[in-house]
């Protein structure tokens, strides 16, 4: 009776899985990540719902990719098909990324607050898990698992959507609008992956503040992180006539994209539709200056700030109970 039982690796597990199972720290971290997936089911249910909706659209809609074209025949010109294909790939990912942004922010605001609200923090704290590991698991889920999962799912959705659309086109049910182009596909995915990585890193200060708010505030977490900065900016303007706060928020909102040197061509050109002005996403791939983004000191300062917030969140959780 009462003999300690270290779980033996399951029969048949080999390689890194066996190593991970036998390494208590890795096993603990895996378990913490699984906990997040179990607790926050919307993290995987919402993206899957988006995929399902898009695939239903692929099966049922007609000519969904008509972009306010002045002359639709121009879009069907074989020379422009690469651009149309890349734009379709890009447009199809938008629902996924919008959902991801919502999930990521709400998850970060909730992840350390919910356990205090339902008092389960007292259960979690009875387990030999450090506050640092708990906070790290939440950062990992929000900044690695969720973005990578979204990227992979959006990619699969793109491929499936294109396949379904082309099958329908082959039997005459849909216009031959999206023609597969492997190079354009790879370049588009590369641009989106890069954009995703840079976004996660650039917006890290926001994530850090959300995590800190989740760890520290007693109630109304969402209100504090939205209304308070807004009031602070307005207050500064009225009291001092300056706008440092709003400039800082504005800069952290879109400051990185300039350093990538992709100009505003992409979004602007879609609005102006004329094909001559459209800069296709594969073209962005050819122009983008990745090095400029990663050597931007503000990117690293932001990451350092986010790391300080994460450290503070873990410290706050150290002596935090259900209050």
């Amino acid at each position: 009776m009462n003999s300690p039982a270290v779980a033996a690796p399951r029969a048949g597990t080999t390689g890194w899985r066996a190593w991970a199972t036998n390494n208590p720290k890795i096993r603990m971290f895996q378990t913490l990540v699984r906990r997040e997936i179990w607790e926050h089911r919307s993290l995987w249910m919402a993206p899957l719902a988006v995929t399902a909706l898009l695939l239903i659209c692929a099966l049922l809609t007609h000519g969904a990719l008509k972009i306010d074209a002045t002359d639709s025949s121009e879009w069907l010109d074989p020379q422009n098909k690469t651009i149309v294909f890349a734009l379709a790939q890009w447009a199809l990912t938008i629902p996924h990324y919008l959902v991801m942004i919502l999930l990521l922010n709400f998850y970060l605001l909730d992840c350390l607050y919910a356990e205090r609200k339902d008092r389960s923090i007292l259960f979690w704290k009875s387990l030999p898990v450090t506050d640092g590991a708990t906070v790290a698991s939440k950062i990992f889920v929000s900044c690695v698992v969720l973005p990578l999962g979204t990227f992979a799912l959006a990619l699969v959705t793109d491929v499936l959507f294109t396949a379904i659309w082309n099958l329908r086109a082959a039997i005459g049910h849909a216009p031959e609008l999206i023609v597969w182009d492997t190079v354009a596909f790879l370049k588009t995915q590369a641009v989106m992956f890069l954009g995703l990585v840079i976004s996660v890193l650039w917006y890290a200060p926001f994530f850090g503040i959300f995590l800190l708010a989740s760890a520290g505030l007693r109630r109304n977490v969402l209100m504090w992180v939205t209304v308070v900065p807004l009031l602070a900016a307005i207050g500064e303007r009225i009291a001092f006539g300056t706008h440092w706060i709003s400039s800082l928020i504005d800069y952290r909102w879109d400051g990185i994209w300039g350093s990538l040197h992709v100009e505003t061509a992409l979004l602007g050109s879609i609005r102006n539709v004329g094909l001559a002005e459209v800069v296709s996403i594969p073209a962005v791939y050819d122009r983008v200056h990745v090095g400029a983004a990663f050597t931007d000191i503000d990117l690293w300062l932001g990451i350092a700030f986010a790391a300080a917030c994460a450290y503070a969140a873990a410290r706050i959780r150290r002596y935090r109970d259900e209050t």
Partner: protein, 308 residues
């Protein structure tokens, strides 16, 4: 290591930042030896939970505290490998499925015996697929207990573990604790205010009131030190001369509780070792006045709290 818990001069106040400081612990000292079941007993707001939180490294405090030879402030993470606790019955998260709870504890605790927890659960009506929010309060306690008792811990801390449970579950809870967990190498620290029910469980009791320890004794020690006399009203004056520290009337008879110091004479408020010529008679005389017995822990608790 001789003591599981060694506390000296623990102090803790709440509300310092607001300027209305309320002391929760004031110079609390006690120790707990291995293989004991200690009841930390006190009225609401006495400081029990604060003391437990200090022991579990869940709150800051002043003073000296060693738990399993570790300082819970600086080495909580190590401590939690050997300490289990149930802070409250209702703290398992509602979204958690029973099977997930087992996976979770098995994944983070190297000393968790999953087969044992499953064996516990087979004795109940709890299904692996159920979510905690779908279980009754009694079932949640059974689940929590199954998890905690399957951890090979050296110290188990229970804070009001049976609060709000019906008698049947309370009885099962303590039976499981004794038969499936406790042995001479393990120590259990329980806070409760349902003293009557668990007093047979304890080997030691610590009474705490207004943030101070008012009694710290083994249960055997209580029998040696305290005596309860039930006396007819006509002999009450004679008994009163022996200086009971507590007195009440029950069905026309007077019940008194006496604190018996080591020399066999009642406490003389600081001068017990040197009885004065008009000192009251020895305790042997008490039996002649009425019926004597060792007070129950519940009676002693009430007496100590009201005398304070």
């Amino acid at each position: 290591m001789t003591k599981v818990i060694e506390a000296r001069g623990l102090r803790k106040s709440y509300g310092r930042s607001t300027g209305h400081s309320t002391p929760a612990l004031e110079d609390v000292s006690f120790s707990v030896a291995p293989g004991r079941i200690v009841g930390l007993i006190g009225p609401n707001g006495a400081g029990k939970t604060t003391a437990l939180k200090a022991i579990l490294g869940l709150t800051s405090f002043e003073g000296e505290l060693r738990v399993l030879d570790l300082d819970p402030r600086s080495r909580r993470d190590e401590l939690m490998r050997d300490v289990s606790f149930i802070a409250d019955v209702a703290v398992l998260p509602g979204w958690l499925r029973v099977g997930q709870a087992l996976e979770l504890v098995a994944g983070v605790h190297t000393r968790f015996n999953r087969a044992r927890a499953e064996q516990f659960l087979r004795r109940t009506d709890i299904r692996m697929r159920s979510r905690v929010r779908e279980l009754s309060k009694g079932m949640v306690t059974q689940l929590h207990l199954a998890l905690i008792l399957s951890i090979d811990a050296r110290l188990l801390v229970l804070d009001e573990p049976t609060l709000g449970l019906d008698l049947l579950y309370r009885r099962q809870f303590y039976d499981a604790l004794l038969s499936d967990f406790f042995n001479e190498e393990r120590t259990i620290l329980v806070t409760t205010h349902q003293v009557e029910e668990v007093e047979n469980l304890f080997t030691d009791v610590i009474f705490i009131n207004h943030g101070r320890v008012v009694l710290d004794s083994s249960v055997e020690g209580l029998a040696e030190r305290y005596v309860q006399l039930t006396v007819a009203p006509d002999k009450a004056a004679q008994a009163r001369a022996l200086q009971p520290f507590y007195e009440r009337e029950v069905f026309g008879r007077v019940v008194m509780i006496f604190d018996r110091p080591a020399n066999g004479r009642p406490a003389d408020r600081g001068a017990a070792d040197q009885p004065t010529p008009d000192a009251p008679p020895a305790f042997a005389d008490l039996a002649a006045l009425g019926e004597i017995r060792t007070p129950s822990i519940a009676d002693l608790f009430v007496a100590k709290m009201e005398a304070a």
